[in-house]
């Protein structure tokens, strides 16, 4: 473990150098006049991706922030993001880690659109693995299968704009960003 603990000294933050040109806009934000809230039950047996995307798409929701309120998964994969040895970016996702039959303690997932227009789910969560260890990381939503009980999710919709993934030139990584022009079904 690479962590240190010195209560007397707060280490100075590090400024990392990314491969691309610095973007002077540091906070890219948009707002809606109000959010809609939806309580969603993730259906047992579906992937986390399908259980989130399908019912929300049917309701015309394509951009949203969600809180996964905890529950069991029959199978769960996650990854972490150590430094990128290729130097193309400062970090890169590592190999998928199989957590087995795992309990998601808390998760947040953002729903948006991929570069090609299809749905994208970006999810981070704290989990308890099949071995009992509590871990955290980037969840692979298409490789996680909802367990035998439905899992509750609180959805906050983003209706007046849309979240789309685009290559971020500064970090050289595709990222979700807010864009004008909501999608209408």
């Amino acid at each position: 473990m690479q962590s240190s603990h010195d209560p007397k000294v707060a280490p100075r933050p590090r400024t990392l150098v990314h491969p691309g040109r610095f973007n002077p806009v540091r906070i890219q934000s948009m707002h809606s006049a109000a959010a809609r809230h939806i309580r969603l039950a993730l259906k047992p047996g579906l992937s986390l991706f399908d259980a989130l995307v399908r019912p929300l798409s049917e309701e015309g929701v394509h951009s949203a922030s969600t809180t996964i309120l905890g529950g069991a998964f029959a199978e769960l994969f996650y990854c972490v993001a150590p430094p990128d040895p290729s130097g193309l970016a400062v970090v890169a996702y590592g190999k998928p880690i199989n957590a087995g039959r795992a309990y998601m303690i808390f998760g947040n997932a953002t729903l948006g659109a991929r570069i090609d227009g299809g749905p994208l789910v970006h999810c981070h969560a704290v989990i308890r693995t099949s071995g009992g260890a509590v871990k955290g990381g980037h969840i692979l939503p298409d490789r996680c299968i909802v367990g035998p009980e439905p899992i509750s999710v609180l959805v906050t919709t983003l209706d007046a704009f849309e979240l789309r993934q685009a290559l971020d030139p500064e970090t050289n990584i595709p990222l979700l960003q807010p864009h004008e022009g909501p999608r209408h079904d």
């Binding site: 962590s3 990392l16 934000s29 951009s63 704290v126 955290g136 990381g137």
Partner: protein, 130 residues
């Protein structure tokens, strides 16, 4: 400014989503998001992203430093409040995971949690009743 009371009635107003860029501080960045959107008080409705290194407060007034990159934010709750002097203060607490997936939790220390690649945050404006 809002009164310091136990029960504060109010309602939800606007909802804002932001992508906070690398090397910006998580806590101050959330405060600046409120400046950008004109929110005086807000609750975090969703947040995820990565930090260069993580820094959370401890009981003794010190800090727990978790070395990255990247340290993933895997749980976050919090609010932004307008203080009596008119300034904005974000209070954020959560769980972070180091590059091996090991988890640590506590309050994020303002100024010491620089964003690594991106930080996505959704705030819902809180409008206290007058």
């Amino acid at each position: 400014m809002t009164k310091n009371c136990v029960v504060e009635m109010g309602s939800m107003g606007r909802v804002a989503y932001a992508r906070i860029a690398p090397n910006e501080d998580l806590v101050v960045g959330v405060e600046k998001l409120c400046l950008a959107e004109g929110f005086s008080n807000a609750f975090v409705r969703g947040a995820l992203g990565s930090l260069v290194d993580g820094c959370i407060g401890t009981w003794d007034g010190g800090v727990k430093h978790v070395k990255g990159p990247a340290v993933e934010v895997v749980s976050l709750a919090g609010e932004v409040r307008k203080r009596s002097d008119g300034s904005l203060k974000a209070s954020l607490t959560g769980v972070i995971a180091d590059p091996e997936g090991n988890v640590f939790g506590g309050p994020f220390v303002a100024g010491l949690n620089p964003v690594c690649v991106t930080f996505e945050v959704t705030l819902e404006e809180w409008l206290p009743d007058a």
